[in-house]
Symmetry: C2
Subunit: 669 residues, 2 copies
């Protein structure tokens, strides 16, 4: 019982820390009327977006809850509600924290980089801890209520539904607003980014929050919940209660480690803004391994299995910086890939596009090798030290769980990015001065690196979470239907694989098209405002920010519905017609192409972005090369912020829908 309460205790500690950070942030000066006016507009826009999202999610969730309660089990419906509800709550809290922290970080620029960094980081840490502790809380509460992972699986579906809406919807929103603002503002009217005369500028800033911050949060929350559920399901299949609860304890250990890691960051001005963030991560990682090993020892003792579990935890923790380094190598301008893309801008547009695509495609190799090595290593220690193949699979899932147990600190460093970005926007819009802007630009550059590397983390963890869940799904389906033919010689499995591998390609095309069509509407609106109110560009008339926010919001949601329905219904249709073996194919196929397509898109996009930034750093902003690099960045935007990250949720939604609906997969054919 003490063990069962540990995750709830850890969540409470993290939430209290988050609360104290929130109070600390509240006490920071928030600036004069002009600052407040802008941040209020951003807040309103973000709230409008979330409200509209929630307005669709709630009735949809109500229908799903009723269906689950009626056809499957009331407990599953409750799990769905809790999984979805806490995800929304965590999203709202963390987004509002980031939004309200941005003006405070902007004001803190007058006190130096240390103070600004601390403000932005604590906002990020609040978001990071709220999201992970809510995820842990959702599953540990459910486990206390009914310690049966099968009934708890609805929580994963709930988390997925929310993540799909926030991640993909936010992804469309942020890039449509960004593109719309840039196309008319920068290119046609020739005004700088974040200029208050641009009617789309608030929508753009809202986009940073709903896309980058809330989207990433919902994505990681979902991976966390899915991995917890998958490893608990596998523990249940082994038939040992200690193995069922262990994933929760590993999560709790990582969460406590995260609390210590984020508390050690101080307001002292660092030489390199990355240093305190790195220290925060290293502290969390080392403590995570120690505490994780401790709970493993307390739960299963030191035998073969205990050692296998500890090695699996270490593997998972090591995977985090490894994947971040790989991603950094392919996306930061300190290394050859982005330098090569930058050099290609002197050849021409096509060379720049091809080089960016090529580097992104290439980056999939080291990612794949890391993931494959982690899977093989954890499986073999688990299998060889216990002589039980299912324990090998269980150890693979635990590696993923250990990786995700550090989500709190990863998200802290990630959410720091949009706060700095927004603070920069406020500095620009209120005309605070060049020195302050340079400071936020420096932090924004760090934030951009963190954003890119966190995307790598999110993609890898989504794939690993899905792989764990696919294993659990197969066992659950066999528990219902008896032995099933999951072999690659079953044509039904092959057909499922073909359908699953298709989805990331097709959904990407829908999402890229969604950004274009929504951006076009924003462009039309901005042009209309410039045309009808001549005073806007002269700075004597106020633009109507709200209209652009409204267009981005409704556009994003409308464009999202069809792809969301396709993703959610495909496994159900395949399952009803062809049965659970075909569904396993769909789930696996989705991971296989989704993993690499997402990583390619995220890295190509980030690399183009940084090639452009590199030219700016080199002082070549108004050159033809820079103009070419800007096109690369525009191509990369929907790649890295819409299609790429949305595939994470696509991969997982397939799994959570399937595990909940498994009993309907009767296979008519």
């Amino acid at each position: 019982m003490l063990l069962e309460l540990f995750p709830i205790g850890a969540s409470a500690v993290a939430l209290v820390t988050a609360l104290s950070f929130g109070i600390w942030l509240r006490r920071q000066p928030s600036g004069g009327e002009d600052v407040r006016r802008i941040s209020e507009a951003v807040r309103e826009g973000a709230v409008a977006f979330i409200r509209k999202e929630v307005g669709i999610i709630i009735p949809l969730a109500a229908i799903i809850i009723a269906l689950i309660a009626f056809f499957i089990h009331p407990y599953s419906a409750l799990a769905f509600a809790l999984g979805a509800g806490l995800s929304i709550l965590a999203g709202i809290i963390s987004m509002l924290t980031c939004v309200s922290a941005a003006p405070k970080a902007a004001i803190a620029t007058s006190k130096g980089i240390g103070a600004t960094l601390l403000t932005a980081f604590r906002a990020g840490a609040t978001a990071g801890m709220v999201i992970t502790s809510m995820a842990l809380l959702a599953i540990s509460t459910l486990y206390l209520l009914f310690p049966n992972p099968v009934l708890m699986a609805g929580a994963g579906f709930g988390a997925s539904l929310v993540a799909l809406f926030i991640r993909a919807g936010g992804g469309i929103y942020t890039k449509a607003a960004d593109l719309g603002a840039d196309l008319v503002g920068k290119l046609e009217a020739g005004i700088p980014e974040d200029d208050p005369r641009n009617p789309a500028t608030i929508a753009d800033n809202v986009g940073d929050n709903v896309g980058d911050a809330a989207g990433m949060g919902a994505d990681i929350y979902e991976s966390y919940v899915v991995t917890l559920l998958a490893s608990m399901l596998l523990g249940g299949i082994v038939g040992r209660a200690d193995l069922t609860i262990l994933p929760l304890l590993v999560g709790a250990a990582g969460l406590l480690a995260t609390v210590v890691g984020v508390v050690v960051v101080t307001g002292r001005s660092p030489e390199n803004p990355m240093t305190p963030l790195n220290i925060s991560f290293i502290v969390s990682a080392i403590l995570g391994v120690i505490l994780g090993s401790l709970v493993a020892w307390l739960t299963v003792g030191i035998g073969g299995l205990g050692i296998a579990i500890i090695i699996s935890i270490i593997l998972g923790v090591v995977l985090v910086p490894l994947i971040q380094r790989i991603t950094d190598y392919y996306t930061s301008y300190s290394y050859p890939p982005v330098k090569r893309i930058t050099a290609s801008t002197s050849v021409g547009h096509s060379a720049n596009i091809l080089e960016g695509i090529g580097q992104g495609l290439k980056s999939t190799l080291p990612l794949a090798l890391s993931i494959v090595a982690a899977i093989i290593a954890s499986y073999y220690v688990g299998f060889n030290l216990t002589n039980n193949p299912i324990l090998g699979i269980y150890c693979t899932a635990l590696t993923t769980m250990a990786m995700l147990s550090l989500s709190g600190v990863v998200l802290s460093i990630d959410s720091f990015g949009p706060v700095s970005d927004n603070a920069g926007g406020i500095v620009e819009m209120t005309g605070m001065g060049d020195e302050n802007r340079k400071l936020t630009d420096r932090l924004d550059a760090v934030g951009n690196t963190a954003k890119a590397t966190t995307k790598g983390f999110a993609i890898a963890s989504a794939a690993l979470a899905a792989i764990a869940m696919i294993q659990a799904f197969q066992k659950e389906a066999e528990a219902i239907y008896g032995a099933l033919d999951y072999t690659l010689s079953n044509p039904v499995v092959v057909v499922g694989l073909l359908v699953g591998a298709l989805l990331p390609f097709y959904i990407s095309s829908r999402l890229i098209a969604a950004v274009s069509s929504t951006a076009t509407k924003i462009v039309d609106e901005v042009r209309r405002q410039f045309r009808e109110k001549k005073g806007i560009l002269e700075g004597v008339e106020k633009p109507d920010y709200g209209r652009c926010v409204g267009i981005a919001t409704s556009g994003a949601i409308r464009e999202l519905l069809t792809p969301a329905a396709i993703v959610a219904l495909t496994p159900i249709i395949v399952g009803v017609i062809l049965g659970p073996a075909a569904v396993t194919g769909v789930l696996t196929g989705g991971v296989l192409s989704g993993l690499y397509l997402a990583y390619h898109m995220a890295n190509s996009g980030a690399a183009w972005d940084n090639a452009k930034k590199y030219l700016e750093v080199l002082g070549r902003k108004k050159t033809p090369e820079h103009a070419i690099a800007v096109v690369g960045d525009l191509v990369g935007d929907p790649y890295k912020d819409t299609a790429g990250p949305s595939l994470n949720t696509v991969i997982k939604v397939l799994n959570t829908v399937s595990i909940v609906a498994v009993s309907a997969f009767i296979g008519l054919l």
Copy 2:
């Protein structure tokens, strides 16, 4: 015995028809000194490329033959030699036919479109019939020598090795030469395409032959051989000699149907140049079904199995125009996708790139649905009418075989394209006049459509051939190692899938980079010639064509070696370390991501190309929109002509290597 001789007889009929076409072509007038000089230069360049390729392939093949003879079986080594040898022979014959037909088609422009079309088509038909009959001949001869499909599998590996070199090497060559010629010629020097002052123009024309014609031929030859082998292996597993020989008979039926189909094309000038090509295909398809059903009836009689086989043949034949229509829809400017890409050029570069990528990604959906429907339908008729699941799988393979049995006519229509393209080049270079050029442009446009749709056919058939071979591989591995765990719950299978799905992404990045680096070298050379010999651009001095041909040849081959080694060695390494189940994962993973990535790249590339052409048709050649469309086309070039089509051979090489090396897959871990 009569049955066994039928494929050899059909091959002989096709070869005699090809020979008579060749003699007819020889008799056509080949023009004056200027025409001959150019066509001689193209011929020399093409021969230089093939000679260099063969110079690498022969020693490599000798080593492989020795290894196979020593470690596996002398018969397998013989099969390898025959499969590779006839592939090279078919490639050389068909390439030389196309090269020598181009000047004759150029001369025929003076006689009108009917005569030009007939010349180009008969050259294409010669290539198409030589390639398919050689493939059929290779396997039917081996079957007469030793009727054991397992020993014959080496032929597939031989075909794969040649295809990898010709397809990927030719793909790098053609686009590097094209890009190099365009970047300096069109953009810097401002001279038109195919201008004789451009030192890279001969290399560009050689590229059309080695990339488009020889590459496609080797690719289809490989798919044909692989599918024959896979279906014969499956027939062998059922243990019935009639089912082992039936795939050969279906191939022979299709080949005879093709002979009739190509003979009906006359020199009458058609309203629409597409009409005679369509008639040729329809005649072949209808006759193919009739003859195919006849051989099925003669071989297995009319029972459940006979009906299942006839339905499978019809499915395969229907798949050909279906996939061609889908590809045409996404790549021809008569339909919305390319119109939308064309419209996006008025927004800007990024919109054009994103729209092209989006449409290519989208096109994977109908392709996937067609393939999935064909697999499900053929499997279910085969299974339900015989109550034997292996016969279901066998019928799936037969559907692929029926599809490929029409390769001859598909290749005839495809090879027609490069001949027209080259004829246009000769018309331009010898200054024959605008009317003649317009005529070849019209045929070239038809050829472009055919090229794009044939790519769709080649991609789908590569994937289906691989799927059939994967099934055969699994059975073979089990014959050696006993029961194996091919399930998706085996982590080793999952790891194999992850590795296999990675390969197309990674190899694409290598091939795209290869085009860029080789093109850069050609650009440097062209610039050097323009700089050092001022008379070239004035038209008073001759450029050195040979140097550009040499750079393209050696660049293509050098850049190809590493990716080729990675593809060939990956299944062997995985097999030796992790065993045959993991290899099955690699093979399946390769098909899953390779199929969609290849189709996306081929279609995005062709769509950009045609968006540019559409603007030209609309008379908007010197507009800013056209300049944007040109960039799209340049991005699309390595997509559609290098990376995309090379993935076809990647998918199949994995399979043929694995089936030959299966006895080495001991699984050390």
